[in-house]
Amino acid sequence: MAQRAVHATCSRTVSILGTRVMRVEDPKFLTTGGVYVDDLRDPRLAGAAHVTYVRSVMAHARVTVDVSAAAAADGVVAVVTGADLADLAPPPVPLGFIPPALGRPWLANGVVRYVGEPIAAIVTESRYAGEDIAELVSVDYEPLPAVVDPRASATDETLLFPDHGTNTALAFEAGSLDGLFDGCEVVVTQQITNQRVAPVPLEVRGTACVWEGDGDDARLTLWASTQSPHGARDQIATALSLPPERVHFIAPDVGGGFGAKFGVSIEDLLLAVLSQRLNRPMRWTETRTENMLGMGHGRAQLQTITIGGSRDGRITAYSLDVLQDSGAYPHFGAVLPFMTQMMATGTYDIEKIAVRTKSVVTNTAPVVAYRGAGRPEATAAIERAVDLFAAEIGLDPVEVRRRNLFAKDAFPLTTQVGAAYDSGDYVGALDAVLAAAGYDELRAEQRRRREAGDNRLLGIGLSSYVEITAGPEAGTEFARINVKPDGSVVVYTGTSPHGQGHATSFAMLAADELGVPIERITVVHGDTDLVARGGGTGGSRSLQLGGAAVHQGALETVDRARELAGDLFEAAAGDIVLDKARGGFHVAGSPDDVRGWAEVAASADAEHGLIVDTDFTAEGATFPFGAHVAAVEVDAETGKVTLVSMTTVDDAGPVINPVVVEGQRHGGIAQGVAQALFEEVRYDEDGNPQSTNLADYAFPSAAELPDFTLVDMATPSPLNPLGVKGIGEAGTIGATPAVQNAVVDAVAHLGVRHIEMPTTAERVWRAIQDAGKGTK
């Protein structure tokens, strides 16, 4: 267990950690606005050409492209197709696990595999001309059979990549299915769809770039709306066969990512190539319609759960079968079932478990990481399974959970699937959320309404969840602490925030150890020339790795400063005390003679001050947890569902800045609710997407959601000195199953046992009709 170093040689002030600090980022956002890629006015981008894409309108077809009319149009700089890029090595696959045979081309090379796949790049002088000239490109489609249903894909009847020999990209498994349910008094099985959704950050993707210098000195500066600048820099360098130092990657302000902006897009890579070939700075900003398809989707798992146990409520066996839709070119989504598998049993101590996952390609948009990335799918499955089991044996779902949760004293523990849970208090979380939600009163109200024949059906749903953050393997993050000769501090972090408030939280961490007020601390991120290395922001890694690195770097800075102060005082470093209240150093016992940070830093280097670089490596991934209670009202006649209350416990350990953590919980909860009630990306049987813009796609507004009631709980992790876990995705993971369970609960007395997400009015109405007819 990592011990926080004890410093008897610091006099302490009241810690800023855990206090509500308004974000230092906000004045800019609230007055002049953030500077996102499309806002950039860097002089190097003056005269930039604009890129617009011609994209496939068919899911699977052979294509021939005639660009002659477009290439001759006024205002065109160039028109580029796949054939023009044939000399390039194929772009790198997004992740090491992806078989190269399933990699995507630069631009479609005679075959298109999903609606939205880029076919041609139109480079124009002005932004407005792009769409005009794109209309002049003529694409001839020779339809090929479209494989849209993952179940059809899994049969390998129509191979989408004949060279790969199968439509299966990846498969994972754990546990044995042999005799798994032997001895179970009760076995329940259910097919569940964890539906495809669209991440929809408010800022669509955008990129700008410029090449400077010639030949071997040529250097690319590229700005993009990304979550991982260093990773993106490396992928671009690989794609262009350059050493990484020749690429300067900058993430400006980023308008949300939610996992889908981790890594580089093919359009980012294309922009660099086009800019190089045409010797012009270049810009690209997609439309929302392009984003709804081209950025990729989330979730998209077809699941079969089987849960078995005894009538007294003990669950003894569980199997989860996952068919993951990867989309046309496997991406993060294809790999995420590994995380689903790892978290399959959730908070429950289940004796026997088997998981089988298979990721298959289809003629749809690629499936990428989306808030929760594999873990919401696991939680949604087990929480539905537990409710189904409870319904089968006629026990309250709360009671069934109580009888199966890992006890508080069981930690640390390794689950039957091999996940090493660091700390947790699942029963405590459940108790706290039930009390805060007024669970007993809700059940009483439900009874009253049922007895009165009230058409506003009340449903109450729960979830108990645990998830893995900064995993699956132990992570590392970099920080540099630079105390300048004027006593101000610059913190450089390898994380890449896009709304998570690191500039404030990391300043708080540095302030807490250095005794420098946060007004004098600046946090720098997102620029690969300024920050030496980094893992970006995703998977809820940033505080437990990046924050821990800042904390570690600050401690090392204090140690180094005490040595420097010792030289100044001609005393031993061990006799030097840091007085945080006064932001200075003195010899123990002589508090009146203080030398401030400015003087000490300047003594290290008169120009740059004191610089300390550090890399923090965690002992392992951490496991935040919680419990949610959702109350919904279902209109018995129309089936319409309204969320009336949402109460949550989301425990990610000690809270550095409650303001920021609450915001992350709210946002996560809203996305979780949205998946349960509203959102779905659907394709018809020919692979045509049915919801390609925000008018068709039911992204909820404030009018669709209530306030959320957050209950605080903080169970530290032993795996980093701050004791923190990741909060970013927890809310999403807990919310979806609580709401889905609530909807089913609302109509369970009418004979309904399961309703697929999103639980639209029509789905609920049909479930009620079918239950009434005896068809379930």
Partner: protein, 274 residues
């Protein structure tokens, strides 16, 4: 995202608009608030060569009590209808429907004439006006004619307007003191109606209009007839979808729309006191 190129003509009065339409014929499209037309143009589903902006034709923006008839200029904005004392007094159903169009920003631009002329069968305004027995004053080079709301839309986004004609005024008999109901079913507050039902009582008569149950807004004639022959509201509402051919789409199936029409009609009738 970017409309196809067009030439812009500003027309701040009926006469200016008539002149522009006369000159350009069916190459020209009138632009009022633009909250229906511009979204189509941005997706290039509409590509007029000439856009005639009448949004500042102040002579066409008014609400007048014409002694028993409410006269509303076609360029009157939804937000102004919603807070107009005259509309609230004489046609509260219309005030309510205007207050539920789109969102506040849309309501600050969109106009009653624009909504009627756009003729989307899902729209709140034409549905309410149909239940209110409104008529539309159409003006062209040959003079003016008054078209009953029921006769105005001939199909999805289609009306009887000739290329050189303009809808200039909406007229409806005052419904002061009469009861009404409006039930709108949506997934989200901002969405177009999955189905909506407007009910307007006038003495012993009840008009019931449906949104998104066909290619135009339409009257639930079977329900109206049942009510007229003495049926109770619940029984009459069971006929609400008769004669309608609702579409099935990503939002709702045809069967579900039929079901909603029946339920919402029952509720709108109840709100109207039936």
């Amino acid at each position: 995202m970017i409309p196809a190129p067009f030439d812009y003509v500003r027309a701040d009065s009926y006469d200016a608009a008539a002149a522009a339409l006369g000159e350009h014929g069916d190459e020209a499209k009138l632009l009022a608030g633009g909250q229906s037309l511009l979204p189509l143009m941005k997706l290039r589903l509409a590509t007029p060569a000439i856009v005639v902006d009448v949004s500042r034709a102040s002579d066409l923006s008014y609400v007048r009590d014409d002694g028993g008839v409410l006269a509303i200029g076609a360029l009157t904005r939804h937000c102004d209808l919603a807070r107009s004392a005259d509309v609230t007094a004489h046609a509260p159903l219309l005030a309510h429907a205007a207050g539920s169009v789109g969102d506040p920003q849309v309501r600050h631009r969109g106009t009653i004439g624009g909504s009627v002329a756009h003729a989307d069968p899902s729209a709140d305004i034409p549905t309410a006006l149909l239940a209110l027995g409104a008529s539309y004053v159409v003006r062209g080079p040959g003079g003016s004619r008054e078209v009953a709301a029921a006769d105005f839309s001939t199909g999805f986004l289609e009306t009887v307007l000739a290329p050189d004609e303009m809808l200039v005024e909406i007229r409806l008999p005052s419904a002061r003191g009469e009861t009404w109901g409006y039930e709108k079913f949506t997934r989200r507050a901002i969405d177009w109606a999955t189905v909506a039902v407007a009910v307007q009582n006038r003495g012993a008569e009840t008009s019931v209009a449906l949104a998104n149950m066909g290619s135009t807004v339409l009257r639930a004639t079977a329900t109206e007839a049942a009510l007229a022959s003495g049926a109770g509201a619940a029984d009459a509402a069971a006929h609400a979808d008769e004669g309608a051919e609702p579409a099935g789409d990503v939002t709702a199936s045809a069967d579900f729309r039929r079901h909603l029409a029946r339920v919402l009609t029952k509720r709108a009738l109840a709100a109207a006191g039936r």
